[in-house]
Amino acid sequence: MSKAAAVPPSPLSRLWHKWRFHLNILLVLIPLGFMPKYFHDASLFRGDSGLGEHEIGEIAVGPWTLQLAELRDDAPRADGPAGHFKLFNAALCSTCINEVKAVYLRIGKPRSLRAAGVLFSGTPYRMSANLPIPTNTRSDAQIWITIEGWDGSMQQSAIPLAKASPATIAWLQQQGGK
């Protein structure tokens, strides 16, 4: 530093010398700024603010019904080489809890029960599935819900992806633009 004083300081180093202690203020502002988001997320995870940010509503699947919601009303999230995923939450109707063995979600009609998609896991009142969203998904795609009953029966129902996740459609259009 004493050496540096001998040479005329560059504008950049002057700027640094003048403002470096303000870094503290900036750093402390970060958690303050994220606090509302933190509490929003904490309430979302705890189920205090419903099933998800975007409630899709009640969907009939054969004799059963299911409440479906997007956890977050935003674009799918990247998971490295595994691709992009969208987290959906679901709740079973109270009378079907003991009849339903498993619930699956998939983009497009499943070829078989074995390939029915991702499995919901959690409790019947609140379970989640992380749905892979290929970047070449068409914007008129449907998401298919498959329910497997303990009696061996299989029921299916579909809703447009555009209805289930408008944010995903917007994201897909962006991907196409690239």
Partner: protein, 107 residues
Amino acid sequence: MTFKACRLALAIALLGAAAPALAHNPMCQCEPIAGEQIKCTGGFSDGSGAPGVTLDVVGYNEEILVPGKLGEDSSLTFKRPEGEFYVLFDAGPGHVVEIDYADIGEP
């Protein structure tokens, strides 16, 4: 969210909730190699391999053309079947990855 849901629950117990929920999603990649062969490699998005996991090649008519299991290196090489088919990486109910033959391409 899927596979290591258990491990995730443990992480939450240790870290005390609202913890980073890092996913371990199943994944599978297939590429054409010389001699009309296809090599598929399975694994999980955290970087774990999937040795011993089932990988079947299934025709569009749901007939299993090549039943297989991934080797120690988490991969399986098989001869490209005729016609329309898909590859099914199957680590159990709801833990599958499908790859359509059209997405595998030619060498």
